[in-house]
Symmetry: C2
Subunit: 445 residues, 2 copies
């Protein structure tokens, strides 16, 4: 992977926070995940901080045990479209499952967001790991892991095909000659595959960035192959810098085998900071937040990547328990990583749960300490930047105010936007329309 | 149907216009249907004119013969979400097909738009009449007319059920007690029907208007029954005032049989004006616009409700032709109305095509003449208001500037908004959550 000269940053719109008890913080906006004003404010702060994109996670199955943020929240395409008008430069990346959607509808909604925003859209492709999801979509069974990735690859292939339905000069819109469309530059996809048959054309043209940017977070074997083959921005939750470097090398090996150039993709680990003007204050804030975490909520949160497994049936202060195979089946890579870490470090169930609910201590401290940690990660050469998640209310504001200027001072971060599209921010080339390319080169589209 | 005291108005976001040659007008914004600034401006003018809602039509199948507006345009949920932030009071009504979507996704996107906009969303339920649509969604055959309506009824039933997943007080969000959700007020739908099985709950709560408003345009036998049973705002394209009155009586008879109260729904015929400070100027503008219409484009436009039938194979100046049964199969009510009108009035094919491409002359004239015609229609008691479509560039502006003040002066139109939700604008009651109602009354939900 090539290392860009400067750090790229995404910001995750995550309601009052990803932790099950984050909403209990005295300063937390309790209805943040359905509060448009809260998100508008965050979007503007992130844009003032020259972030490259906003990111909205998603899932389409909940129970009463789900995270407060997941119980009640905006749908990604609608909230991002709403925020398109509140911002002018920042990218808009939404998560949508390939397992329970129609490629024609997905292609269209992202293309529409892309045009509305002047070329700022990205699609984070997920396959939905929670097995209960099937019941919301009339399916007897949730597709198996391997099937979901095969389906995702075909789904994405169709969506990207539909995004090229019109060549960039398909619409002369010549009033005098009365020519609106050049029909030779409108293309049917005529896809017939294992899961989908889609004729096309899509009823919307390309944006200034050509196509929305593809995001993905592949951790399993199939997931890594999917990411290395198809994704442009890769989310990674490997935990430590060492694990992230190993993940990056693994992805580079796979991507090279798929014939991809190193400058065509980049890695984004998550980043949660607790930063304050002094280290002492940061540590105090961190401890305060920790004190709000209830073990029973942390256990629920721990259960999520284990397909909602109920950990409360096990003793808290004994070793991380043996689990049935079903608990590892749907999100094998993340669940096995957590269980492996707990066993390797002889953590109790309580310690494992509390650790999963907290930011890494490496990013807790003074502005210079946090900037140093970020620089250390970035200069490893493994990553393109970070996807920032607030671990405390207004940490985004503190980060923009205290840390960004240091990174700018060090030449590690842009002082202003130099592009207008997400693809431009991330230094990815605009993909030429496949039919234009075919005509130009004489090859088949 | 009860007649509200004042006229309600919707405005259709229709790019450069519904006519195939509308984009050729010298003042037309040629890329209007993918121009966010154009739509933002129109939305603001409509809101300045105290319109009750913006409306976005839709279809999910095009060919190179489709209307310029349909060839390339924003998707309804994304453009309406973007416009939510550019406006503060006006309703936001989007069209989405029930034939090629998942109820869980549809429920969620409209509920999200509804929360983002503070209770201003509406769903126009359509079943997609173009038989080619099936090919974009991997279906061997487009479902038959009757099947589509049965499916639509079940789809809507599921969506409305999901919209009640949370009772209005389901989220105590009590930081001190640590209670975010009251799990007794989160409900699974557990729907199992002919077409859909959906467990629920939906992952989003209700808006201030309870549920999005249901719009529909039923013209056929099944369509009228669907509209009379389920729709709150009914679009009608009966053509003349007399036919509109007859349609309204038919709907009232059916709605009463379904046990509905007359104040729970209202009719909205389309309205296209050509208004100018003087009658002479309006007539001149009308003629200018007429002169831009090319007969070959008008024939394509005529073909739309005939499932894309190619009328160019018939002589222009002979009687409206006999058509194969397939041309009438998918949108029987509209296609038969047009053919019947042509035969009854002994119109040639050319006359039929040009007539379909033009506004009604009744609404061409001076501000007082147009206001008189609107008043005449409204005082028939058959309608709640109109769904306004621009027939010329900036006709919305002219209408707001010249006609609205006359209607206000006559007490027929509000001087300002009195509500903040779409349901409030349309005088429809907020539907009580079904589970709250059941608990209150002791009945089953």
């Amino acid at each position: 992977m090539s290392t860009p000269k400067q750090i790229k940053l995404g910001f995750v719109l995550f309601g009052a926070g990803p932790g099950y008890d984050d909403w209990r913080h005295p300063d937390a906006v309790v209805d943040a995940s359905t509060n448009i004003e809260h998100y508008r404010r965050q979007a503007r702060v992130a844009e003032a901080g020259k972030f490259d994109f906003l990111f909205v996670a998603d899932s389409v199955f909940i129970t009463e045990r789900s995270s407060p943020h997941y119980l009640n929240r905006f749908e990604p395409l609608t909230i991002l479209s709403a925020l398109a008008g509140a911002t002018s430069r920042i990218g808009l990346v939404g998560t949508l499952t390939s397992s329970y959607t129609e490629p024609y509808n997905v292609a269209r909604q992202f293309a529409s967001l892309d045009l509305i925003s002047g070329g700022r859209a990205g699609w984070n492709v997920v396959t939905s790991w929670l097995s209960g999801t099937a019941a919301n979509f009339g399916k007897a069974e949730h597709p198996q892991h391997e099937t979901r990735y095969r389906l995702a690859a075909e789904h994405l292939h169709v969506v990207q095909g539909l995004w090229d339905s019109y060549e960039d000069d398909a619409f002369p819109r010549d009033k005098q000659r009365g020519v609106f469309l050049d029909p030779g530059k409108q293309h049917q996809l005529n896809h017939k595959g294992e899961f989908f048959s889609v004729r096309g054309p899509l009823n919307i043209s390309r944006s200034p960035q050509g196509q929305p940017v593809i995001f993905q977070a592949g951790a399993s074997e199939e997931g890594r192959n999917f990411a290395a083959r198809h994704a442009e921005a890769l989310f990674v939750e490997a935990g430590t810098l060492e694990a992230t470097i190993a993940y990056a090398e693994d992805i580079r090996r796979r991507a090279t085998a798929f014939g991809r150039a190193p400058d065509s993709y980049g890695l984004f680990p998550g980043l949660r900071t607790v930063v304050a003007p002094t280290e002492e204050e940061a540590r105090r804030k961190y401890k305060e937040a920790q004190s709000l975490v209830r073990i029973e909520e942390a256990l629920k949160q721990l259960g999520v990547p284990f397909d909602g497994y109920d950990f409360s049936q096990h003793p808290l202060d004994e070793a991380f328990p043996e689990l049935p195979a079903s608990a590892y089946a749907s999100n094998r890579s993340v669940s096995e990583r957590i269980a492996g870490f707990a066993r390797d470090n002889k953590l109790t169930l309580r310690e494992t749960a509390l650790r999963s609910a907290s930011p890494r201590e490496e990013f807790v401290g003074s502005p210079v300490q946090v900037a140093d940690a970020i620089q250390r990660w970035f200069e490893s050469g493994a990553i393109a930047g970070f996807n920032y998640v607030e671990s405390l209310p207004r940490q985004l504001d503190a980060f923009v105010e205290l840390v960004i200027p240091i990174l700018q001072e060090r030449g590690l971060y842009k002082r202003d936007y130099t592009a207008t599209t997400l693809r431009g921010h991330l230094d990815f080339a605009v993909p030429e329309n496949r039919y234009t390319l075919a005509r130009r080169t004489g090859a088949a589209a």
